[in-house]
């Protein structure tokens, strides 16, 4: 303890703050990369919030954006329709941006937006966050281009609302508009949310839903047909391919930066206490006690740095946010991730400390 006090006091306060700042930057880079990867992988969970229990039925698809479920088959399976809520998702190209269009029931629109049921149909309701990005106002005519059908659809913006969560970055529409964009027929939806209750699936039930993401079931003129889409970009966008790869690259570069920098910082800590450690050794302090005091010092730096980075990311969410289909995604960091990053940083920094100390000896 006495050795630690001497070592700590041998450094000016600016050096302490300097090392703390350097490690904080690295912790921030590492935590934001980890948080972004987690946020991106839970993007679909955020699209489908199930509050108060329940489950989501989707087809065997890459994402809710490509899933197709049949209302008839699902209700046959469930036995009743109480507490079942359907959503049709689509991606549309609007004003030079790819955005998510969420098709919901007129009842849902009336409840969430407080509009009358008759108005809720054939209209677009844009979340304020997205409206600002698109530069649209109430009464504008929007042209929605569907990457699934190649068609252009004209629709009127009937309102712009500050909506909670992800809805603020989406376009809300009725089922017809969303289905026209998604290219599915009546009676088909992207997902169904079954609220409450316990679902007992009968044994050996095979839902005859779309087996592949790019296989669409279409009902036209009373007969059900299918359409195989061989469009890789559709799937690529639907499963956030480009976004995931970019964020993974960011994570890899963050790992590389931390792996190179932490030993360098540890090495510098050893160099900066060179004179003090030599004096301590001459005064009879053991090698182990000097290394232990350096380890403790570095441990305090790392804990402080990680706490600062964690607080910065928790309160300044814009600091490392990315946009995904119009949604603003902020890093999701948990205390568990912060601990893991701190341990990795501590080990790497200590490698540098030991190396520096050995060279001095």
């Amino acid at each position: 303890m006495a050795t630690l006090r001497v070592v700590a006091r041998s450094l000016p306060i600016t050096s302490h703050l300097g090392f703390l700042a350097l490690l904080s930057v690295l912790a921030l880079v590492a935590l934001s990369a980890v948080g972004l990867v987690l946020a991106l992988y839970s993007f679909y969970d955020d699209l489908l919030p199930v509050e108060g229990g329940g489950f989501i039925v989707s087809s065997y698809a890459l994402s809710p954006l490509t899933s197709v479920v049949s209302e008839k088959r699902l209700l046959e399976l469930l036995g009743n329709s109480t507490g079942v809520e359907f959503i049709v998702f689509s991606v549309a190209y609007v004003n030079g941006r790819a955005v998510v269009v969420r098709g919901v029931s007129p009842e849902y629109l009336a409840e969430v937006l407080g509009v009358s049921l008759s108005v809720a149909e054939h209209c677009l309701y844009v979340g304020r966050g997205l409206a600002e990005k698109l530069g649209v106002r109430r009464g504008d005519v929007l042209v929605l281009h569907s990457p699934f059908t190649g068609d252009a659809l004209l629709a009127l913006v009937c309102g712009i609302y500050p909506l909670p969560g992800v809805l603020n970055y989406e376009i809300l529409a009725d089922f017809d508009v969303a289905r026209a964009l998604r290219g599915v027929g009546g009676g088909y939806y992207s997902v169904a949310i079954v609220r409450g209750g316990v679902f007992e699936a009968p044994e050996h039930v095979e839902l005859p839903l779309a087996r592949r993401a790019l296989l669409l079931l279409l009902e036209r003129d009373g007969s059900t047909g299918f359409n195989v889409f061989a469009e890789v970009p559709e799937a690529y966008i639907a499963r956030l391919g480009i976004h995931r790869e970019a964020v993974l690259l960011l994570a890899y570069s963050a790992i590389a930066v931390v792996a190179i920098s932490c030993p360098l910082i540890g090495y510098s800590v050893s160099l900066s206490v060179e004179r003090c450690s030599k004096v301590l050794r001459q005064l009879g302090a053991s090698r182990r006690s000097v290394v232990a005091s350096l380890t403790t010092l570095v441990g305090i730096y790392v804990i402080g740095a990680t706490a600062l980075a964690f607080l910065a990311l928790s309160y300044l969410r814009w600091l490392a946010g990315v946009e995904v289909l119009g949604h603003s995604i902020s890093p999701k960091v948990s205390p568990y991730d912060a601990t893991a990053v701190a341990v990795a940083q501590l080990v790497l920094t200590l490698l540098g400390v030991v190396r520096g100390f050995r060279e001095l000896e």
Partner: protein
Amino acid sequence: MEYGSEEQSLLILRDARLGNCVPLGYGYLTLAVGGEHLQVPVVAVGSLKILEEVLHFNPVDSGEGCVGLRASVGSDLVKVLVPGSSVEVITDWGSTRLCLGYTHRNLLRRAIVVESLEEGTRVLKGPLCIATRRDLLRAVLASSIGELTSSLTLYSLVVVVLYLPILYLALRRVSWELREEFRVLRTQGVSLAELRLGFTLATTLSAGLTSIYSTALSYLVVCVGTSLLSYLGGPLLPVPQLTPENLLPAALITFASTPLSYVALKLGEG
């Protein structure tokens, strides 16, 4: 299997960028149908012939009673608008009539296509581009990439700026490693100013070369990846252009390394 089809697609854009474009008007028309006013999406083009190849208009027997501008009804609107009849359009100046002499079903299924539109109807002007579906998909992908680059460019610049203290530490380490060589050079009569200049120039050059090399390598990897994707799945993404914005972090590191290496050596001398 071929990815990215040549199937035709219609894009109504604010500015003409893709495919073959013609001027058009688009918006909503108020029609008087069965005593009620109905708002219907409309696309107005100079001549229906322009879209004949894409929409494949089917003529409907409209009889002699069908008067007014020629229009085609999208297949999704057939339930409410009877093809072959004429409907009244309410305009700011009164009313006019449309003859629904055609139907179309492939694209613009939820709109009516009108051959020119008289004054008094509120429509927006813009180009209508006949492009392939691949062009549309490419535009959607480009939008996703744009979203990412706009957020990550700022992030990378912040990281580069925050990383400069680490560069300083690395330069301190280099100067410390070279302390013996400096001492030998000093004993042989090399002035301190010359040593500082040599060290600063050498480290700046080294930082510059490393930055240029890593930027070039990253660009090469992206180009190879894009070309490979184009080879395997059709020309979906254009080869990205190297813009000054991409070179900014490399330039920042190079220019910042000059004062940093000077300061690192000067402080290291103590």
